[in-house]
Symmetry: C2
């Protein structure tokens, strides 16, 4: 039997399994478990009948290219459609800046490979999206975290962190941000802070990676278009690499997302993608294009907002109901996630077996921190479970917390 | 205007555009051009009606997971199906050794990332598949070429190359091979040579990456199952990482391929894939699974063999017809490619503008060589064009060669 470890690259030696994916595997092993773990959109909301009809028309065989290899940049009509979406987000662009990616995860991977060498410094939010952490870790970049406040990244900590890295003799190359309804916190970066971040990037000669998957899922009671305006819209210096996706609005099963970046960088992303997967699935791209062209995406958006708002409200109501352990959170104004802090003395990771035993699962906060923090926090996704399960799951969670607190007191 | 080159990673600085993809872009610009450039399967052969029906049933919305994120390893029933395919190839396997990839290109990329550090040596055939070259180059591996003979890799050159690398103080980690109807040469590695390569890998402590996309496309007149038997089938030492795909037999638009590797390596490939694209498209995987389950794949195989054999025959007949420039080739017994050598003094790359002017396009040999060779060779794909276009394209090619030879003589 060969010991294969001696054949592994240094990058492979350091690779760690995604905590979210691990929770998904755990959850799949018990049928009765209620999962707040993965940030899955709700399949009830997918436009099944439309997709069925679109697929039917595409698969007649009249156009052989529907199942052929396609251009690495993406299906041209879809790229034009994405350009129109960018314009509707106040960020007009041109085709040479755009590339379709096989989901946003591939976008993160390509950006990491094109911009980061081993030990290069990239600043990330504390906490930040685990998928980004994995992509940056796999190119052996050095991630340094910056604290967040209620309106997003703390500017003073950003500058201090930057200076600390500089004193160390290292250069900060990029800052990765999820400005709208961040994964995992649900936070929204404030309007003036967005401007300040752009100015800071310009002053410090840093590129901003703006990851924007949730922006269409704002909740009508408090958010305006101005609040979710991409930083890319005000990027006069050419500092922003903007990413977004159809996974949360149409369906993740299609694996279609995009990057808008300075043309010189997009040209490199294209070559990186040639080696990564040649092209994104042509059928998937055409279904997504048709869904845009036929107005299905526009029709879906308000339905999705109402759907996820109702689920957020149900989760919060269930958490507030009755007595029980004291949890604190900032109410998310959009997206998929609630990010509560557990009572003092309770460790989210250590509590997990007890929660699973009670039939509920979440992602412990640590997975989202590059500095080892987050041990008292949990990410609860309210997006996928039905309302009854949200209520029941929250009761189970509260029972697990109470039991855990009790066990600690003894 | 920012100079973005100072933001690029060292890997990105070295990235080069794929010659095949570049030819594809060129070809797309002229409607009347006959393209022997990309190795595209023929869309006429796709099982359109079956795919239409399968998609119809999958997209009813009854099973929400059809358009959801899926497990990184792949859709479980498809993995079981792949295990059965491996068994039919005389290489029984187990589920923990398998992972679905987003096309074989992703397989190459993941294998490269998990096994190769910058400057690590990987041996490749002279010539070899450009997509592999790009994947290995993007992890900054050092590719060293080994000469081929009519029955595949030259064993003496393999050992000499190995020793040369060792004397250099470097370690050979892997050997990458396409044993069946190689891209670009169409060569088949002989039966005894396959055994010898396995023994060599064992003796020299090297992993074999066996890339096997074309094996089902053998031509009935000369090839037996024994000739295309995977090296993986006789791999007692656990040396082989085996890759194959549904792109050439069902359709590339689905982006579904797989890797069979020692479980410890597959576990790392899975983590690399988590960061690369989370999961392969679920709809694509389910269509492919249904196509296997319903026997469509089995039904397609003999049709495809007849189809591509007819095209190969048409291309060879057209090349032989009449007088004209003298080309030499080894007749491919399967696959998509013919690999002729041009008359002495003619450079394939330099001749390209003349060929395009005449309305035909190919890939010049250089793109497939890691040592700068191949300047007199061209890769002609007979897979996609219809027979009439094959005939006409070959006439155009011969005219271009004659004209080029004429111009040289003056």
């Amino acid at each position: 039997m060969i010991d294969y470890s001696r054949f592994l690259s240094r990058s492979a030696e350091r690779m760690k399994e995604s905590e979210i994916r691990r929770m998904g595997t755990l959850a799949a092993q018990r049928r009765d478990i209620i999962s707040f773990a993965p940030g899955y959109p709700s399949p009830d909301t997918f436009a099944w009948a439309d997709f069925q009809e679109i697929a039917q028309r595409l698969l007649t065989g009249q156009d052989g290219n529907v199942l052929q290899y396609g251009p690495t940049r993406g299906y041209r009509p879809l790229l034009e459609c994405i350009a129109a979406i960018m314009e509707s987000r106040a960020a007009p662009t041109s085709i040479d800046r755009l590339i379709v990616t096989t989901g946003s995860q591939q976008g993160l991977d390509l950006v990491a490979r094109v911009l980061l060498d081993p030990h290069d410094v990239i600043l990330v939010e504390l906490p930040t999206y685990t998928g980004a952490i994995t992509a940056f870790r796999n190119v052996m970049a050095s991630m340094v975290g910056v604290r967040q406040e209620a309106d997003g990244l703390a500017l003073d900590d950003l500058e201090e962190t930057y200076q600390r890295v500089r004193v160390d003799g290292r250069r900060v190359r990029c800052l990765y941000l999820v400005p709208n309804f961040q994964n995992p916190t649900g936070l929204l970066i404030g309007r003036t802070k967005r401007r300040a971040l752009l100015e800071w990037a310009e002053r410090r000669d840093v590129l901003l990676i703006e990851d924007d998957p949730y922006r269409d899922l704002y909740f009508g009671d408090s958010v305006t278009q101005d609040d979710i305006r991409p930083m890319r819209a005000d990027d006069e210096g050419g500092r922003v690499i903007y990413m977004s996706t159809f996974s949360k609005t149409l369906a993740p099963g299609f694996r279609v997302a995009w990057i808008d970046a300075p043309a010189a960088i997009t040209a490199k992303l294209e070559i990186a993608k040639q080696a990564a997967d040649l092209c994104t699935g042509e059928l998937d791209q055409r279904v997504v294009f048709e869904a845009c062209r036929q107005g299905i995406l526009d029709r879906q958006a308000p339905l999705l907002r109402a759907h996820y708002q109702e689920k957020r409200d149900a989760m919060i109501a269930a958490l507030r109901e009755g007595s029980g352990p004291e949890l604190r959170w900032i109410e998310p104004a959009g997206g998929f996630f609630l990010w509560p802090t557990l009572p003092e003395g309770i460790d989210a990771q250590q509590m997990l077996p007890r929660a699973i035993e009670r039939g509920v699962i979440y992602v412990a906060g640590e997975a989202f921190f590059v500095d080892g923090g987050g041990n008292r926090q949990v990410r609860l996704s309210f997006s996928a479970p039905i309302i009854d399960h949200i209520r029941e799951g929250v009761q189970r969670l509260k029972a697990a917390i109470a039991q855990e607190a009790d066990a600690r007191r003894r």
